[in-house]
Amino acid sequence: MKKIFIFIPFVLFLYNNLSYTEIENKLSLDEILKKVDEIRAPSNHFKCELEIVCYKDNKKISLKKFELYVGDETKSLVKFTYPYEDKGKFLLMVKENLWFYTKGTRNPIRITPQQRLLGEVSNSDVARVVYSVDYTPLSAEEVIINNVSMYKLTLKAKTKAAYDNIILFVEKETCKPYKSEFYTVGGKLLKTAYYKNYQMILGKERPTETEIIDEIRKGNRSVIKYSNFEIKKFPSYYFQKEYLQYIK
């Protein structure tokens, strides 16, 4: 009986200690992801320009240009500016919901995150520049890549997102994202993204290029180039699907 009394506080102590370690660990994972997001997105609300170039066997096959408006982290609006065929088209993302709109049609259509925008780039790759909105970091381990110490973060989709799992490689020192691997529910590697060409933008070194490599159809890759970042606040109704018809 005495042994039981000694054993119970010991178990409780161990449990408390473990929980504490877990929470502490969890917080640090969240912090790493938050820092990654802060590097990729200069603010909760900003505007920038995008250019997507698709390659097949290193041959340039298409080019598209967009303007990206981000409001309140979870809301983004993508305006298609080039080529002419796509002029007047918009993509709206609010939380994990996506709509596609063509000017003059007055009727936004709901689409899935998986529907492709161009080449290897899915809608959410363009419309969402942060991970913490859609993904929870589950674990981190330290790895060395190209003689640089990095965290290998495993991210899991919170509810529904474009990908079920993401393995994100982040430089340990700076929290700069190096690459991401995107997986399906079944654990199949869909694509790999490399964050490149870091430049000083709005007070921080940020990647201005993301190279996305298709792991299913080998030889296909796309490069997203970001430019002209500008911190700007947009009214909340700007990101409402019914308002798309009035966007100028």
Binding site: Y84, G104, I111, Y246
Partner: protein, 427 residues
């Protein structure tokens, strides 16, 4: 005269607005298309015996422009204009036919931060369905270009003169549209629609109430499940829907001659129309779309059989008229039947399927099918697009193949198939 008044009104509005414009910004986009259509007619169609009713030209050449512009005069006022000028040449016919459609010309006034007031000619498009839109109340009975994809048909049609007001809040918006009856401009009775659109638990919901000569209620729901599936549902209830049927008007000749002159009778009934469907995106970019739609105001089995029997007997009488009868009577009856044909909406149960992949080698390939679930007749519409210069020029080849027995909806159509070859220039 009507055109002149229209033009004067437009010029007056433009002049007034230009006075107010201190931050002029013009944005535009559009497509110029050259299209050749080849039609194949049925030789044995009951609705067109010996090609007596439908002009059986084989080729049609059309050039047209879809042009949309948005002119912002300042942050509070903008003008939207959507036009479609056409030039058509039909084989074996002299000259060209031209038409100039102003689909939309309206002004938006941004009164407060989240209140928009619009006035002018507007093509209001509602509904989440692709193949069928029972809540598209303003678009009912409008002339559409059947050579276009199903969902495009409703975007390129003439609008109505509407006064509209829309109020936005974070996740909710309210709208009211009024299309008054205007002598010489808008002859339909005054129509009003009011409704609400909102997002609830990641589901888009929209409810609308429409009133003109009858009451209508519309509901639209759409949501995504997971990363690959989109589901939608669109339904309407109409207090009084017109149904047109062929009925005997006069007995011709002797009372037992079995030769009749027919007329169109109109009945009214409550009706429900619905479409439910989904969209699945596979990893290899192939998209699958499936929709089932129910049209309660369509013909029942008995009504359809009766309708077909009238067509069959009149076709036989037209080909070999009974003694003492002029075949023109039977031709007239057949033309009445032909005028009631609204392909794709005649019956009550339909299935729409589309498979689409935007990147098959260098082609964008789509294959769609509309199946009449009651008589199993169907239309196949394949479409292949080749982007000559990506985003600037493209070449499109598409077709419509109508299949079914002679007494079925798509089997009775005088046209058996038609192909379009289009060259598109985007700007």
């Amino acid at each position: 005269m009507k055109q002149k008044i229209k033009l004067r009104v437009i010029i007056f509005i433009l002049c007034s607005i230009i006075k107010l414009s201190y931050a002029l910004h013009i944005d535009y986009n559009g497509t110029f298309m050259l299209r050749t259509t080849k039609n194949e007619f049925r030789r044995d169609s009951m609705l067109n015996p010996n090609f007596a009713l439908v002009n059986s030209y084989q080729y049609e050449y059309k050039s047209y422009l879809n042009f949309f512009t948005n002119i912002c005069f300042n942050e509070n006022i903008d003008l939207r204009l959507k036009i479609r000028p056409y030039l058509t040449k039909i084989e074996k016919q002299d000259g060209y036919n031209s038409s100039f459609y102003i689909d939309e010309i309206y002004l938006n006034f941004y009164l407060f931060k989240n209140l928009v007031f619009s006035v002018g000619k507007q093509n209001l498009v509602r509904g989440v369905g692709l193949s069928y839109n029972p809540t598209d109340f303003f678009g009912e009975k409008k002339e559409v270009d059947t050579n276009l994809k199903k969902e495009e048909q409703r975007y390129y049609r003439e609008g109505d003169y509407i006064i509209r007001c829309e109020l936005f809040n974070d996740d909710i918006s309210f709208f009211t549209s009024l299309a008054p009856q205007i002598h010489n401009f808008q002859n339909l009775p005054t129509r009003v629609e009011t409704g609400i659109s909102l997002m609830f638990e990641n589901t888009d919901l929209s409810f609308s109430y429409f009133y003109s000569d009858t009451h209508k209620i519309g509901v639209n729901i759409s949501k995504t499940i997971g990363e690959k599936i989109e589901l939608h549902c669109e339904s309407s209830y109409c207090h009084s829907t017109e149904k047109k049927l062929l009925e005997i008007k006069n007995v011709l000749g002797q009372p037992n001659s079995n030769v009749f002159e027919y007329g169109i009778t109109q009945t009214s009934q409550q009706s429900i129309k619905s479409v439910v469907g989904g969209h699945y995106t596979a990893l290899n970019k192939t998209n699958f779309i499936i929709e089932y739609f129910y049209n309660q105001s369509g013909y029942t089995k008995d009504e359809w059989e009766k309708f077909i029997e009238i067509i069959r007997s009149n076709k036989e009488f037209f080909v070999s008229p009974p003694e003492g009868f002029n075949p023109e009577v039977f031709k007239y009856n057949l033309s009445l039947a032909s005028s009631l044909m609204n392909y794709g909406y005649m019956r009550q149960h339909y299935l729409f399927v589309r498979i689409w992949n935007p990147e098959v080698f260098v082609f964008d390939i789509t294959c769609g099918m509309l199946l009449n679930l009651e008589d199993k007749s169907f239309v196949l519409f394949p479409n292949i697009e080749y982007k000559v210069v990506k985003g600037l020029f493209s070449l499109v080849l598409n077709g419509n193949f109508l299949n079914g027995d002679k007494d079925t909806e798509f089997g009775i159509c005088p046209v058996k198939e038609y192909y379009n070859l289009e060259f598109r220039i985007y700007f």
